[in-house]
């Protein structure tokens, strides 16, 4: 039987979070939340005689992405009209970029499960405008909402370098992470602000030709992307193995049945009759502009992970966890700047803090604990003002009340007892109260030492410095001999 190799390219559409739309002054609103047709004007409704004006902020956002994806930026940018009729497209053409996209020939390295890294080439990054949204009513009739019409939309097209559903997921997730880092997109697949459409085909291993491909739509999660792509690979393999032919078509992903189904068969390529948009003169992006945008790029996840390992001695895993989201990374870095020991901070954040956040369903930007406050807490542990167990309890309280560690420790008298004289008194009380156990210890049951420590901790309500207790206890028991 012939062995087949999947060939997959991804088209990603991402709405840009600018204040206003691509070609008019209308606000960009959450198209799920906002009342229909409240963020519209004659321009984005395509009314007669209305003209587009390019939103330069959207161009800058697109440049950020293109630069982050290692693309060459096109100096001479031409917008084109893509002509097709659909009621959600008010002008009956979409203003997009065709022959000369804003960014070309980029790449992105993704991490595979094997631990290896793989480079996915990026064919183009270009600007366009989003369409409105059409809702078909059950009883017949359709409703159209133009709030989304004219929202800046970025299209990122990869080369067909992806070979599996897992790779598709890793690539798409990394693109989303970068867009979120760049502050240009919220990355919400459910709301459709980040849309992924794989093109999937198979070819005999070693062949240079491409087979018939299917385009997969309705993927509203990364899991659907991975599963849908895997399903398509399996389906196409079965079709080819049974001597059939893959039909070039658009297929939808059924999220509950976990299968793909045929949506639209493309017998011939659609003719969009592209031509240069006469209402917009060419947009010239000079080197100075590119360099300004490049200089303003934030540090991206990959660079951060490297730096956290080199500078703070974090493990690759911990560095990855902290750099996963820009907000968490920023929080961590503020805490480090406030004087916290990076490794300890990393542990406290990825264990206790994340757990508290999960339990209360809060994002790091919403919590009452501020980075400086965790830095202080970590400092108190280091100085042995409090021990780890107390610190965990204090953090939980900080998380609820927003009080600082020092004020909680002071108010509740939680400071660790490191006063040797005081501890020696308590130890002697414990030994005096338990002569049988002392005898047993001295008789060789050395395991009882831990029990004694426990008794001391109990007597101090957990505040005793455990290391010191251990040392003093051993000395006291030796004296009993």
């Amino acid at each position: 039987m012939t062995e087949y190799e999947p060939v997959i390219g991804l088209e990603i559409h991402a709405e840009l979070m600018t204040n206003s739309k691509m070609f008019c002054g209308c606000k960009v609103v959450d198209s799920v939340e906002a009342e229909p047709n409240t963020a519209v004007c004659p321009v984005c409704l395509g009314m007669p005689g209305m003209l587009p004006v390019i939103n330069r902020k959207a161009i800058e956002y697109a440049m950020r992405v293109a630069l982050a994806l290692n693309c060459t930026i096109q100096h001479h940018n031409i917008f084109a009209r893509k002509n097709y009729f659909y009621p959600d497209l008010p002008k009956a053409y979409q203003i997009t970029q065709y022959e000369l996209p804003l960014g070309r020939q980029g790449w992105l390295d993704i991490d595979l499960e094997s631990g290896e890294s793989k480079r996915i080439r990026i064919r183009r990054v270009h600007m366009e405008e989003d369409t409105g949204k059409l809702t078909h009513l059950d009883g017949g009739g359709s409703l159209v909402d133009y709030n989304r019409s004219g929202v800046p939309l970025l299209e990122i097209v990869s080369e067909p370098d992806i070979r599996s559903g897992e790779e598709a997921r890793a690539y798409a997730m990394k693109i989303r992470q970068i867009l979120r880092y760049l502050g240009v997109n919220a990355g919400d697949l459910e709301k459709g602000v980040f849309r992924v459409e794989p093109n999937i085909s198979l070819r005999p291993v070693g062949s240079g030709e491409f087979g018939n491909r299917t385009e997969l739509k309705n993927l509203n999660s990364f899991k659907s992307l991975a599963d849908g792509t895997a399903f398509e690979i399996a389906r196409q393999t079965a079709v080819l193995n049974s001597g059939g032919q893959v039909i070039q078509e658009t297929r939808g992903w059924h999220d509950t049945k976990r299968i793909t189904f045929s949506q639209r068969v493309k017998e011939e390529a659609e003719d969009y009759r592209y031509f240069a948009e006469p209402d917009l003169p060419p947009l010239y992006i000079d080197d100075a502009w590119i360099e300004r945008v490049r200089a303003d790029l934030p540090e991206l996840p990959e660079a951060k992970i490297g730096r956290y390992q080199a500078e703070y001695g974090l493990s690759a895993y911990d560095a990855g966890v902290l750099a996963e989201e820009k907000e968490v990374a920023g929080w961590f870095e503020t805490a480090v700047a406030a004087g916290g020991a990076p490794k300890s901070l990393a542990n406290w954040i990825s264990n206790n803090l994340f757990q508290l956040m999960n339990e209360s369903k809060q994002a790091i930007t919403d919590i009452k604990v501020k980075p400086e406050m965790l830095a202080e807490l970590v400092g108190m542990v280091k100085k042995q003002t409090i021990n780890n167990n107390t610190a965990a309890a204090v953090l939980a309280e900080m998380f609820v009340s927003g009080e600082t560690a020092s004020s909680i420790v002071a108010a509740k008298g939680l400071a660790q007892i490191s006063d040797e004289a005081a501890l020696v008194d308590i130890i002697e009380q414990v030994l005096d109260a338990n002569p049988d156990s002392v005898a047993a210890y001295l008789g060789g049951k050395e395991k009882l030492r831990g029990w004694f420590v426990g008794q001391v901790m109990k007597a101090t309500r957990g505040k005793a410095n455990p290391g010191l207790v251990n040392k003093l206890l051993v000395e006291a028991l030796e004296e009993q001999e």
């Binding site: 004659p42 409704l45 395509g46 009314m47 007669p48 005689g49 209305m50 003209l51 587009p52 004006v53 390019i54 009209r81 002509n83 009729f85 009621p87 008010p90 002008k91 009956a92 053409y93 017949g140 359709s142 159209v144 390529a269 003719d271 009759r273 592209y274 031509f275 006469p278 209402d279 917009l280 003169p281």
Partner: protein, 473 residues
């Protein structure tokens, strides 16, 4: 004082000096429209109530010594230009009853200048035509001979000005739609450089060729109106951000030393001998006034017509695809959504449908390179022709149209002969030049003839002054 006989600039002076008032002038125009326009049919909509309100407001300002450039002056506006609160149809049934919630830039400028808007003038549907016979409503008649067309597409504006039913009018010129009707109706019509006047609110026919132009009974009137509506507008990305000029002050009448080019290619075979004679006489007059006449060549002129009829319909096919009855305009309900759209689109007239099909074809896969793509290349050559010519001369002089006004119905069934009516005007639209038509006599049937003057990019002052010198002589 017979108010209807005054020119725009005369009325302006009379208003400022308190010799008359805007309500009287506006009422005189409205009366004249009632009296004449049943025959001429230049207006699609008369905004009489709004006009009289504007006139009354203007009179108050005039009484306070307000010197706004067109304060109290009644003007007509081509119906392809959006007017807030007043029906704007572009001469098409597909926009019947459409009232835009916005003013075009030029209407904002008119209002800013204090003008009174009398109404909306007839046009070939979406400005596609040379006679107003393609209007979705009715054909305008030429005031000089009611059996003849006024030219087009801005035929309503030209006829209204010619018949003293407005002191001036706005039109649009995509391939000659201001100059050719000006020539047919014996008025002055200016087509400024592309980008000189914002297209904001001007219903698009062919976006890279469309430009608003002005009509007047005299060069000074045309200039005053042009001065009022010109200017940069950031809402139109093709609008030119250039320093303001005083065009009225540039009308000195002195053209000594001016180099006037006469292109051999513009005296075409089949043109009326009387047109050629009148135009050559006008050129001789320019020479008498001190201009130097130079024979020039615009070698790619013969390709302008085919190039134009690929580029303009291609752009139009995209621009007109939005008229589906979903968001505005009339909607004919069908069996389902797609059927509704199909039935609504049947409201387009035959010429509009023809051009949509032509343009769609020219852009389609497999034909793009051969048609639209090649047309763009030849357009560059035509532009180059003008650039070369303007290295030699300041102004190009030629006929505006090869004929005088033709009879209604005469060319209606033959699109090609209709297209030829613009053969001498549309090269300019493909280039970055400006042009005008100024009356230069009559043929033996008593029909007006127009002299076309073409200037280099943004050289409106030069051609207006040349026309002014000729007119005064």
């Amino acid at each position: 004082m017979n108010l209807t006989e005054l020119t725009l600039t005369e009325l302006r002076t009379a208003l400022r000096q308190g010799e008359t008032n805007s309500v009287a002038a506006t009422q005189a125009m409205l009366d004249r429209i009632v009296e004449q326009d049943n025959d001429i049919k230049s207006y699609l909509t008369i905004t009489d109530e709004m006009a009289l309100e504007q006139a009354a407001a203007a009179d108050k300002r005039l009484a306070n010594g307000d010197q706004s450039p067109l304060l109290g002056v009644p003007i007509a506006v081509k119906d392809i230009i959006a007017t807030k609160g007043a029906t704007t149809t572009a001469g098409s049934k597909i926009l019947e009853g459409f009232v835009p919630p916005y003013d075009a830039f030029v209407v904002e400028k008119l209002k800013e200048a204090g003008a009174v808007i009398l109404g909306k003038t007839n046009t070939d549907e979406f400005a596609m035509g040379s006679s107003t016979e393609n209007s979705g409503y009715f054909t305008t008649r030429n005031p000089w001979d009611l059996a003849r067309v006024p030219g087009g597409s801005s035929g309503g504006s030209a006829a209204a000005v010619a018949a003293n039913m407005a002191y001036g009018a706005l039109g649009t010129d995509t391939g000659g739609s201001v100059r050719q009707p000006a020539s047919f109706c014996g008025v002055v019509g200016l087509r400024p450089t592309y980008g000189r006047i914002s297209r904001w609110g001007v219903i698009a026919f062919a976006s890279s060729l469309d430009q608003v132009g002005t009509f007047g009974r005299t060069v000074a009137d045309t200039t005053a109106l042009f001065q009022a509506v010109t200017g940069y507008d950031r809402r139109d990305s093709t609008s030119l951000d250039v320093p303001a000029e005083d065009f009225e002050a540039a009308l000195t009448g002195d053209i000594k030393g001016l180099k006037v080019g006469v292109p051999a290619e513009y005296f075409v075979e089949g043109m009326d001998a009387e047109v050629e004679t009148a135009v050559r006489a006008a050129i001789a007059q320019l020479e008498k006034l001190g201009a130097e006449i130079i024979e020039i060549s615009l070698p790619h002129t013969q390709y302008a017509l085919p190039v134009y009829y690929l580029i303009a319909p291609a752009e139009a096919s995209a621009n007109l695809a939005r008229y589906d009855g979903i968001r505005y305009g009339p909607r004919i309900e069908g069996a389902d959504m797609i059927d509704s759209v199909k039935q609504t689109r049947a409201l387009f007239g035959p010429e509009v449908k023809r051009r949509i099909m032509l343009g769609t074809y020219a852009l389609s896969a497999g034909y793009y390179d051969e048609y639209y793509g090649r047309a763009l290349k030849v357009r560059t050559l035509i532009k180059q022709d003008f650039q070369n010519a303007f290295e030699q001369v300041d102004v190009i002089a030629a006929p505006t149209s090869p004929t005088t006004a033709f009879k209604i119905g005469e060319r209606a069934d033959d699109p090609l002969s209709m297209y030829l009516a613009d053969v001498l005007t549309l090269s300019l639209n493909l280039s970055a030049s400006c042009g005008l038509s100024v009356p230069c006599g009559f043929d033996s049937k008593g029909l007006p003839i127009g002299l076309q003057l073409i200037g280099n990019t943004l050289q409106e002052a030069t051609i207006l002054n040349t026309a002014f010198a000729y007119e005064q002589a």
